[in-house]
């Protein structure tokens, strides 16, 4: 077992894990951050997306021992039921989620985009988001929500 210390949503976290343990499993099973979802465990769908030092990563493709000393941000560190992030607010207003399984990953991927480019075009949104799969919405209303955020971004 290996002790790993990192920052999780701004707070110190320490876990003792086997070297083979995936970050996704550590977050869900040891740290009760269950908003990251296992959609494919092959890095293809993006449902497990979290931020590592500000960049979106696939937590199903990272070993926990790789994130020592890093800052990890999950959906639980983005907004809360009483204080939705503008991206979350827009997704709800535009009906950009149905089953919601892919949604936390969508929010985190979009968050990185808006942190670097507050006013992306539709083409840029679609290109940026294309590594996140959704089976319910046909993407139409997710794009509409993110375009609304882009229009309102400061």
């Amino acid at each position: 077992m290996t002790a790993v210390r990192f920052s999780l949503n701004g707070e110190a976290a320490e876990v003792d894990v086997e070297p083979r343990e995936l970050l996704l499993d550590t977050l869900r099973d040891r740290l009760a951050m269950r908003g990251a979802h296992a959609g494919c465990e092959q890095g293809a769908c993006g449902a497990c997306t979290v931020h590592l030092d500000g960049s979106g990563v696939r937590s199903c493709l990272l070993f926990t021992v790789q994130v020592g000393g890093a800052e990890v941000r999950t959906i639980e560190g983005v907004g809360s039921p009483g204080a939705l992030h503008p991206i979350q607010q827009a997704l709800s207003e535009h009906h950009g989620l149905q089953c919601g399984f892919c949604t936390p990953g969508m929010v985190l991927t979009a968050l990185e985009l808006f942190e670097t480019d507050p006013h992306p075009t539709r083409e840029r949104i679609e290109e940026w988001m294309s590594g996140n799969l959704c089976r319910c919405t046909g993407y139409v209303n997710i794009v509409a929500a993110l375009e609304a955020v882009a229009g309102e971004g400061s």
């Binding site: 908003g35 959609g39 149905q98 089953c99 892919c102 929010v107 799969l133």
Partner: protein
Amino acid sequence: MSVLAPPEAPPRTGTRTRRREDTRLLCGEGEYLGDVQRPDLKHVAILRSPLAHARIRDVDVSGAMTLPGVIGVFTGAELAVETGEFSHHLPMIPTLRQITWSVLATDKVRFVGEPVAAVVADSRYIAEDALELIEVDYEELPAVSDAEAGLEAEAPLLYEDWGDNVFLYMPGAHGDVEAAFANADGVLQERFTHHRISGLPMEGHGALGEFDPASGRLEMYVSTQVPHTLRTVISDITGLSEARVRVVAPDMGGGFGNKAHFMREEVLVAVLAMRVRHPVVWQQDRTENLLSGLHSREQSHEVEVAYRDDGRVLGLRADFVVDVGSPELYILGCAPAIVTTSVVPNCYDLADYAFEMRCVATNKCPMGGYRGYGQPQGIFLMERVLDLVGERLGIDPVTMRRLNMIPDEPRPYVTATGAVLDTGSFGEQLTELLEAAGYDAACEAREVARSQGRLVGVGIAQMVEPTAPNIHALAGRFGGYEMAMLTVQPDGRVNVAVGTKSQGQGHETIFAKVAAEVLGISPDDVEVTDGDTAALPYGTGTWGSRSAVMGGGAVIKAARQVRDKMAAIAAGMLEAPPDQIETADGFFRLGEAAIPFGQIAAAAYLHTFLLPPGMDPGLSVVVGYDPGNTSPFPDERGKLNVAATYSTAAAAAVVEVTEATGVVTVHDLTIVHDCGTVIDNVILDGQIHGAVAQAVGQTFFEEICYDENGQPQTSTLLDYMIPTFGDAVRPRIVHRETPSELLGGFRGAGEGAIIVTPAVLAAAVHDAVAPLGVAITQSNLSPPRLRALLRGRPAG
């Protein structure tokens, strides 16, 4: 009596409210199967067959048993000793092979991915380690890799005692097909093919089971669309009374019909929970999902069409060959194909129709239900036939449809296969489509594009869809009814429990609106529970575009009963006859006098001396709702009205084909859609967006592939491609609202767009490539498949 200022009027159906599911899902606080926590939870991993077809000589689990952290290792033979078997419950179909099967394979494996052994361990990691220590001695057998091969005389046999591989043979004859062909001016012969795909919910199947030996009770959490009927199946196989089994379907990451079957693994988890006396969980990973989580659609159709030179289609003969994979699946994998045969006449006046169907067992993943459920293939057939006959005769697609369309009168209209159509006008719907799509202008633009050498095509298609069907003929039981429980609490807040199960369709939001409208209160005061067998005696689940129709109808029925009782209480308090009491805006009113909803609720529980003499206290009802207009079985002529009501749609598409690559760009897609009374426009449009995307996926992206040995070639999302951002098609949607005669006026809504869109895309691509002499007769128009078609085109 104080009369408070009335609250704001509650939203009417058809208007938009923010979904109440959204907040928890957006914040990562949903509770999907993998989020359900239990102390001391153990993890299940399943050893699956690496071979398509083999006899199991021996399974040696001794090595796996010794691995630290392993609780138990179980083989099919071991579990079969005290565990019941699955069957299809259809002894009434004499041409269906009667089989039984166990939670794990016992003597033979019939597809790659079939469950052979199960490990329970402290973690999924350890459980998967243990799988590698199980040694199975297989005697490999030659595999049947597709239906045509399975029909050959020397084909390997999945079940030796059958003598062939035909799982179901089903003939049908309606009208006088011989006479139709005798009267024909011409006959079209064509072959249509449909490829194998997967519904692919983002969350796979999964189950968690916890057994309490002291009480003998089993609690199951399952990612299922059908919790109550699954409880019945778990009871069948475990031998536990249904009174001691609770099934809860938590938040679901999609289902799309894949989760409307009863999976072996779901019952396996129940059996394991009873054996190991720890709570246990199994979550299907993506490779398991693609190997064994159900496939759909694969069929081929040989058709002969008798037509007159004026464009009238007189009769149709079809020979359906269906690849159902391994047949060990309840509800049976032939069910969608049976639906295919029944919907072929579509919205056309085709009385003379005969078919034969052979559902062939092959060494592939079981075929099962997926959104559309056999209808996309049947509608594709009829819509392609009209275009191809029209092409021969020089009659345009619009005229072909008008010539053959079911007339506006009478309603209901009974089709050749016995469907009792209660729809609106197909002709008006088509007219509305042509206007909304700008059809004439699109055809003119196509001519301009063609003159520039571009392959632009315009297509139209229509469909009528049985919704809220009776499943009895396909499952041997369960019917098509629904139940609901509605309780007004002493504080005036309302609990509704339904037997349907949302997988993302927003049922918490829409059923609150439906109940609130009847009760005259705000939807914010209504809490909805679905997917819990402890909350409601029974339910039939969510599938077949039935939730709004049947669940909504049940909620309306329950709400009316409670409202009527509350009105009677109010009448007593106001000393007036109950029928003079009006319900609106949170009050029961008689003229100027008004009693708040909550005050009546309090009277029913807390101040029962206010109740009329003889009235029981409390405000709670459980209702069963069955419109009574469907049949459990076909009649002696093979006719069956399966659906409580019918939805319709018409679609137009403009596409452009890039000849060098085979890539199709969808320039425009218009859908005119009639699902009766609309509960929530935004949720409804979301259903159509999603169904269109799935249809685009199945047409241009997705294909489950096997090699000639039955080895799967598409076992990850890196080789099974679904659409992503940028592939999205934004349909233009027009709603016609022809209310049904059922409670609420609803018709089903979740599937229409996936039924009509493959047909309209094929029509448009056909139109685009027609100048090259290529005909589109297949569902798979992915770039490599379309390139192959274009390159193999006849010279000239």
